[in-house]
């Protein structure tokens, strides 16, 4: 188990190195090695998670360490899927280091998952957790693309085409990728929230408890809903969409961590350490 996690971290680090070298030297081989290393790391990670799942019989989200690792896995997976569809290679420079960061932080946390409760095995819970995490990963990608968009837009507008102009793809590609990330993320988050509500009903007997976590999840959902609605009606694209997807992700991060650390809520055990 532990060896798989370490191997995963190693592969993610190597992949990040590959992508950073690609950014600087623009050699196709660097990007390719970064990509395949990430795939290897992803498979390795999957093996580790699968082993843990079978061994304990629970979805590995019982403490912060496990939750973070599952998130990193989701981020890597969503990136690989998008890379396959959009060929937006340069995004790896954002994603690979991000997975490394999450994994390294997670591996430093104590590893003693609390006594498992039977509720971790409900279908609705697993559905809720996986949809929300994959949705979050898509939003993380949207944020990364948004940052790249702003950088590239700045280099075009300021007319000083420096380091990034050559290396980043066209604004159009960045914009449409970001939009797809948002759509995918929004769909999954919506499904995840519905799963969570159904689950809440089955446990607490109520759909909505006005718990801080629920409230903030609702706010996050609304921000992205507004983004999509504005794009469809008034055509909020490009710069505004990029900025909003970064703000949205900041709120999402608060919902993910901030609520658990600063406020009280019934999701506390997911981020206990």
């Amino acid at each position: 188990m532990e060896i798989f996690i370490n191997l995963t971290i190693l592969f993610y680090i190597l992949s990040a190195t590959g992508y950073v070298s690609y950014l600087f030297f623009q050699k196709k081989s660097f990007h390719k090695s970064g990509y395949y290393l990430l795939v290897t790391g992803f498979v390795c990670h999957f093996a580790a998670l699968g082993y843990g799942f079978i061994e304990s019989g629970h979805l590995p989200v019982r403490d912060l360490r496990e939750t973070l690792m599952l998130t990193a896995w989701a981020v890597a997976g969503v990136f690989l899927a998008f890379q396959y569809k959009f060929k937006l290679r340069i995004l790896g420079i954002f994603v690979a280091p991000l997975t490394v960061l999450i994994m390294v932080v997670a591996s430093q946390l104590p590893n003693d998952p609390l006594s498992a409760k039977s509720l971790f095995n409900s279908f609705w819970l697993i559905f809720h957790v996986l949809s929300v995490l994959i949705g979050d990963a898509s939003f993380a990608l949207a944020c990364g693309v948004g940052i790249l968009y702003l950088v590239q837009e700045h280099s075009i507008k300021a007319k000083n085409r420096g380091f990034f102009f050559k290396r980043l793809p066209s604004l159009e590609l960045l914009d449409s990728t970001g939009y797809t990330c948002i759509i995918v993320g929004f769909t999954l988050i919506t499904m995840g929230l519905i799963g969570g509500i159904v689950f809440a009903k089955s446990i607490w007997g109520r759909f909505w408890n006005w718990d801080p976590k629920e409230v903030w999840a609702g706010i996050t959902w609304l921000v992205y809903a507004v983004l999509i609605q504005q794009r469809l009606t008034v055509g909020w694209r490009g710069r505004k969409a990029a900025i909003l997807s970064i703000i949205g992700f900041a709120i999402l991060l608060f919902t993910f961590f901030g609520v658990n650390f600063l406020l009280q809520g019934h999701h506390g055990e997911f981020t206990k350490f």
Binding site: R161, S170, E172, L173, R237, K240
Partner: protein, 433 residues
Amino acid sequence: MKEVKNKKNFALPEIVLIGLNHKTASVELRECIAFSEEEIATTLEALHDHRVIREVLLFSTCNRVEVLLISDNRSEAVETTKRLISEYKTVPIDSFEEALYIHVGDEAIRHIFRVVSSLDSMMVGEPQILGQIKEAYCAATENKTSGVILNRLLHRAFFVAKRVRTETGIGDHAVSISYAAIELGRKIFGTLDEKKVLLIGAGEMAELAMEHLLRNRVGEIFVSNRTFEKGLELARRFNGQAIRFEEIENCLQRVDIVISSTGSPDFILTRDQVKKVNRKRRNCPIFFIDIAVPRDIDPKINRLTNTYVYDIDDLKGVIDENIEDRNREAVKGERIVDENVIQFRHWYKNLDVVSTIVALRSKLDDIARVETKKTLQSLNHLSETDCEAIRRMTNAFIKKILHDPTLFLKSHTKHGPKTICLDVTRKLFKLDE
């Protein structure tokens, strides 16, 4: 005495390059000297018929006229070439002699490699030169004025050019205004396919940009001009639609790229106009290319979201940066050229008759020595005299076998030693390894 004479005849011919280019000659002079296709053919023949010239290639572009010769007598070949140019182009030798440069041997090889790789071009990295020299080489082969040395040299040069292009970034970035605009357009729109374009005003540079855009398969085209007739004419040329000057604002709703190049002293498009339109365009990106001086498009428009304005100075800035990049890459190109000059020199030196015969002889000697040693080891009963007899016999074999080939290689045709046969011999016996 006989030795000396032999040596002289078998000496390798020299590679000589005579020419003038944009660095040494003015445009007027280059125009006078430039050769047309037919002239090249006749000049090639005339040069090739000359006694001291074995192979010849001539290329003439707007920036250079160069003659590449393989000759046994450098000074005579150079004089002949000058005289022929002067006769064919009816210009006195004095008028162009000063602009000529003459490279011999390694320098000539290096020069031709640099020219073909576009390292010597006025605009470093421009891609046309390779095609132009390929054509010139075709002309030389058609007229049968190129032989084994030029063939090898030119093929090597094309190889070098390809390596320089793929291994360095010498041809990477746009170095003309219109290309730079297209490159920027691609960074904004990804692809220019089906993008709608509005051309305001006319002018050489705007039309050039338009042609580049057409080549990139843009979609609908609108043309607007103060005088509607002129607009109609341009619209016909680009297969577009002419609109009146007053309709421009309306048209902005539908287009993605605007090229402006009018003689107007004021801005044609102001920030407020574009801002109003942007809402109707649902914020789709729009790219203004302002080629006019004074400017047509208010630079403040650049500050609006999803709106990009590049004027002529901005585009020039882009080009300057790109040229710097190319020059930096050219250094890598020079290294590739140097490597190949050394390799070519090695092959060329070995074309010498004497060295080929010596190499052939030593190869056979080596084989004979190894084989006799092997045989004699297993024949212990033979006396030392017997062994000696066998060794003598093998040596005699080699001598007899080599006798005719040596004579053949040493004999020469009207154009001197048989370079082709030497080359074949070297390949046949793998003497270059």
